[in-house]
């Protein structure tokens, strides 16, 4: 080869390398295009107002207030007059420096991109905000941010409403909608209906030069978008009833759930100890969250939908219904009881007349009667093995809504506890257990746990004579409505006719004075309350006091369940609380102020620790 050709060949090779490199950075690689946009475009986010939350009577529960922050984009900061900044914002020089130092650490530690806005001074006054806005050009890399935070006009229902916080890294990676500094619901309605409430952020895109001076609207605003306000929600809560319930539960640990049987709407959902939702608003959350999470009474734990309490005697109604449906029990079946059921280890009972029929057994809450009934269900010759019959029993329970989520719109709803054959195989060995081994289930003890919501839903089912509507907390969403599933009847496996038979017993338990009723304390004249007491054994301390009821007997308007933890015998505390709730809701006034006063003043908290 001639030397001139070698020279040209080598030159062409070098040029080919250059072309290949150009092809890579211009055509293949997308990264440079992204960075170019970030360099030259400034995205000003328009934050929408979050949707408001109303109660069922259109009282505002949660609204918005505007807050102002100073933010920085770390990599854009260059030298600025710290003193002037402090003067405008009325903060100390040390605190500004501190937060800027924190910021650089944060960037390193959490890998937040340095081109994102990060708040440095939070919650400044509107005066400081406007003043700073004018001087913004003197502080490269600094920006202001006006956003809406929550404002609570109610002091109750904190766990129902939930709260909002700034999104963290996980939120951002889970949903690309969020950016650093955005807010999102963290619990309750705020979290469950986040997509409806948050609205749609808008953005205005500007071009800017290397000195960060805004030049122009990018593409004349062709890619800009307007912020869309979040949708307003009407929740099913009756805030007067919610407030009253929280008042009654003061200094008590437990839960109240009230449902409107004809719709499945939750009228009140109380988990006690309660707290003011404002404690977790934007200004106070940092200080209070830790206190609440460390409180040994666990106010942030929503007992109404999470705590699997043993249902206790309330569960006898379920067993009665199953027995009737399975034809192992009739209203006229009589069993005798002398202080209990004395087979095997046996189950004790209190003193009451004997023998009794089914109605009386509910009224008097006889343990022995349900031991017989339960064994008849499980040992039914219709089923070949105990596995088959237990499965059938579980199927019934599940149709009542026990042992599974009800598929409600409550954030964090739990399953409760429901045993399976496997549970007992593990406990006793395969084929080494029989109906007597699981006799506790007869009276709602043992391996079963129901949330107050599930019991309340069960009461609504009885009130409706065999069907329920999925309980829900949101009644209506602006311009959208709620899911159709909440309007569909959910039938149980027990015939409507059988419900009427147990209701008689529940009616007499409250209203049958002089013939051995157990819930006379719930009696309110003319309200026809039908209910069932329960005393749920608690291996950790005093028994839980529980009462479940609905009223009135015909055309029921409300189903209520009350759990008071460690309060002892059901009739003493849960029963009057439930009846006061019913009375308050149905009549709007209280005929027994002495009972109300006794309950409000009672302090049943920390009873165990005192002992």
């Amino acid at each position: 080869m001639n030397k001139n050709k070698i020279v040209l060949f080598v030159a062409c090779m070098i040029v080919l390398i250059i072309i290949a490199r150009l092809f890579y950075i211009q055509v293949i690689n997308e990264e440079y295009k992204q960075i170019a946009k970030r360099n030259a475009l400034y995205y000003q986010t328009q934050y929408p107002a979050r949707g408001l939350i109303y109660d069922r009577n259109k009282n505002v529960l949660v609204s918005n207030q505007t807050m102002y922050d100073i933010t920085v984009i770390p990599r854009e900061i260059s030298s600025f007059d710290t003193l002037e900044l402090c003067k405008i914002l009325n903060v100390s020089e040390a605190s500004i420096k501190q937060s800027l130092v924190e910021l650089s650490k944060k960037n390193k530690n959490r890998g937040i991109a340095s081109y994102q806005q990060i708040p440095v001074v939070k919650h400044i006054s509107i005066d400081a905000y406007t003043k700073f806005q004018e001087k913004l050009y003197k502080f490269p890399g600094f920006y202001t941010r006006a956003y809406t935070a929550r404002k609570y006009t109610t002091q109750s229902a904190a766990n129902v409403l939930g709260y909002i916080t700034e999104v963290d890294k996980n939120d951002i990676s889970a949903d690309s909608y969020y950016q650093q500094g955005d807010f999102a619901g963290k619990n309750g309605i705020e979290a469950r209906y986040e997509n409806e409430l948050r609205g749609q952020k808008g953005v205005t895109i500007y071009t800017r030069d290397v000195l960060n001076r805004i030049q122009d609207h990018y593409k004349n605003g062709a890619e800009d978008s307007m912020a869309v306000t979040g949708l307003d929600l009407i929740c099913t809560i009756d805030s007067a009833l919610q407030n009253y319930g929280e008042k009654l539960m003061k200094n008590k640990s437990g839960s109240i759930v009230a449902i409107e049987p004809s719709t499945g709407e939750i009228l009140a959902l109380i988990s006690s100890p309660c707290f003011d939702p404002s404690l977790l608003d934007e200004e106070n959350r940092v200080n209070n969250y830790r206190k609440l999470i460390n409180d040994k009474n666990k106010p942030l734990f929503n007992r109404a939908i999470m705590s699997p309490y043993p249902p206790g005697s309330v569960f006898k109604i379920a067993n009665a219904l199953i027995g009737l449906q399975e034809n192992v029990l009739t209203p006229d079946t009589y069993y005798s009881c002398s202080m209990g059921y004395h087979v095997g280890r046996g189950v004790g009972c209190h003193s009451h007349p004997s023998p009794i029929n089914m109605t009386q057994s509910i009224m008097m809450s006889c343990n022995a009667y349900y031991c017989h009934t339960f064994r008849n269900i499980i040992d039914n010759p219709k089923y070949e093995t105990i596995y088959e019959s237990l499965d059938k029993w579980i199927e019934y329970c599940s149709s009542f809504g026990f042992g599974r989520k009800l598929d409600s719109d409550l954030y964090g709803e739990k399953n409760g506890k429901m045993p399976t054959a496997k549970t007992y195989d593990n406990l006793h060995g395969k084929n080494r257990w029989k109906s007597l081994s699981i006799i506790s289930l007869a009276i709602g003890q043992g391996e079963i746990g129901c949330t107050p919501l599930q019991i309340a839903n069960f009461m609504a089912t009885i009130a409706n004579r065999g069907h329920y509507y999925i309980p829900h907390i949101v009644k209506d969403i602006e311009s959208k409505g709620i899911d159709a599933k909440y309007k569909q009847k959910q039938y149980t496996l027990v015939d409507t006719a059988n419900y009427e038979k147990v209701i008689e017993g529940m009616y007499l338990a409250v209203n049958g004075f002089g013939i051995g009723n157990t819930a006379g304390r719930a009696y309110v004249k003319d309200l026809d309350i039908c209910g069932k007491t329960g005393t749920a054994q608690n291996p950790l301390g005093d028994d839980h006091s529980t009462f479940a009821c609905f009223a009135p007997r015909e055309n029921p308007k409300i189903a209520v369940v009350v759990y008071v933890e460690n309060a002892g015998f059901g009739a003493a505390w849960a029963t009057p609380i439930a009846s006061l709730i019913v009375e308050k809701y149905l009549t709007g006034k209280i005929t027994r102020p002495y009972e109300e006063e006794r309950i409000i003043n009672a302090n049943l908290l920390n009873k165990n620790t005192i002992q």
Partner: protein
């Protein structure tokens, strides 16, 4: 009249047309990169595009002036011109104007001139004159000394002005020297040393030595091809034996780390080495000297790097080798430049639509980084066209060079080719991060009177010389 007509006919018009296209494209790019709505008149002398119009006009005048000169003047005046430009360089050193850390500007009123740009022409002329002399032999010691003096004096002066980029351009004379008879091994040697330099900086000493050893073995085998088959047989036996031994010791879980691989590799070749030692002393000596000098150079590179280079030069080299990431500091230029070019995509953002160059994200965007404007606004397609134009120009120069009767013209053509090629490849490579930032302009496109004048003069001297082919 007759002479005039001959000149017009003999001129290489293809080259002139490409030259005009490039100069006009350059002006458009400068206009685009400093464009803003406040100064929209293209004759606005306060703006660079306005000034560039003046430079282009005077460059055209210069071109015509050169075409009118007698070609003897280039040979006769080569020595005085060379000396005069050297004097200018010294003068600049004494009372020059400093821009961006380089004291390489001569200020005459408001106009600033960079003598280094013209030094390239003067050096080309005198080198062409010297080499084209009757009886010149490139291998004679006196000639080598003369050439060394011609090249090193201006390089030393330019280096003293801290204008490393312009000094490096003188390396492009190697292409001409190669064409005129210098051994290609010298260029390969220089490239080898550069690669050795980079490897030494990037890798720890031990690994560098390992790689060098491997290289040594490879060269030895190439020199003794007949040994290759024998060695392969032995190597195969050796490896089989090794694996068998491992199996016998029940070490089925063989995990070989890289350094062990290299060790085994070295061991095998050492064995071959000894096996084929007999009667090959001369080649062995070459390889051993080569090896030890490489190791020596490698070890002294770190020392040179840390003690002789300036801070900004070290940083530029470190940036290119990805030894550190500093996008705010010295890496900023290249990063912004890559972003601008990368954002162009296939067909670019469109004329005046490039945000990166328009809003000054790219520094030096009308001078050394003018290629960014093309990359961003005209995209990959536009870049290909520009590169194509340059390639065409370079091919034309080689064609012109090879059709000359006189050695002087051919040598001067190769000087022109080398300088243009060096400027063009180095400038574009630095904007796309292939090599460190070396501040030299893109011929005909970059803003600036000195460089446009210098390249125009050079090209038109060549075209004038070509008319007498």
């Amino acid at each position: 009249m007759k002479r005039q007509k001959n000149i017009l006919q003999a001129l290489d018009w293809k080259t002139i047309i490409v030259y005009i296209i490039l100069v006009c494209t350059g002006w458009i790019c400068i206009y685009s990169s400093v464009y803003n709505t406040e100064h929209s008149s293209i004759f606005d002398m306060s703006q660079r595009y306005g000034m560039q119009l003046v430079w282009i006009g005077t460059a055209f005048a210069l071109a015509i002036f050169i075409l009118c000169l007698d070609i003897k003047i280039f040979t006769v005046l080569s020595l005085p011109l060379y000396l005069f430009t050297l004097f200018l360089l010294i003068f600049v050193l004494v009372s020059g104007h400093e821009v961006n850390g380089s004291k390489s500007w001569l200020a005459i009123g408001s106009i600033r001139i960079q003598p280094a740009e013209f030094m390239k022409i003067a050096t080309s002329l005198i080198a062409s004159y010297l080499i084209s002399e009757y009886g010149f032999k490139i291998n004679s010691v006196t000639n080598i000394l003369k050439l060394l003096i011609i090249f090193t004096v201006p390089v030393a002066l330019i280096l003293m002005q801290k204008d490393t980029g312009s000094a490096l351009v003188f390396a492009s004379f190697l292409i001409m020297l190669y064409r005129e008879g210098m051994s290609g091994w010298i260029i390969i040697g220089i490239i080898y040393l550069s690669i050795l330099f980079i490897i030494s900086l990037l890798l720890p000493a031990l690994e560098t030595v390992c790689i060098l050893t491997a290289l040594l073995m490879l060269i030895y085998i190439i020199l003794n091809l007949n040994v290759l088959w024998k060695s392969l047989k032995i190597a195969f036996t050796f490896i089989t034996g090794l694996i068998l031994a491992m199996f016998i010791r029940n070490e089925t879980d063989i995990r070989l780390e890289t350094q062990y691989l290299i060790l085994i590799y070295v061991a095998i070749f050492l064995f071959i080495f000894i096996m084929s030692y007999k009667g090959r002393i001369a080649k062995l000596l070459f390889v051993v000297i080569f090896f030890f000098s490489s190791v020596f150079i490698s070890f002294s590179v770190d020392y040179v790097f840390n003690n002789f280079l300036k801070q900004h030069q070290r940083e530029r080299i470190e940036d290119m080798l990805n030894m550190r990431v500093d996008l705010q500091g010295t890496g900023y230029n290249v990063n912004q430049s890559k972003i601008a070019i990368g954002s162009g995509g296939l067909f670019g953002q469109g004329f005046l639509q490039g945000t990166q160059t328009k809003f000054n994200f790219v520094p030096e965007q009308s001078t050394d980084f003018i290629f960014c404007t093309i990359g961003e606004e005209a995209g990959f397609a536009g870049c290909l066209i520009i590169i194509g134009l340059y390639l065409f120009l370079l091919f034309r120069i080689i064609i012109i060079a090879e059709r000359q009767r006189f050695a002087f013209t051919r040598i001067f053509a190769y000087c022109t080719f080398g300088i243009l090629f060096f400027h063009f490849t180095v400038n574009i490579s630095m904007t796309i991060g292939l090599i460190p930032v070396i501040g030299i302009p893109l011929p005909f496109l970059s803003y600036g009177g000195s460089s446009l004048w210098a390249f125009t003069i050079m090209l038109f001297i060549l075209l004038k010389l070509d008319t007498k082919r």
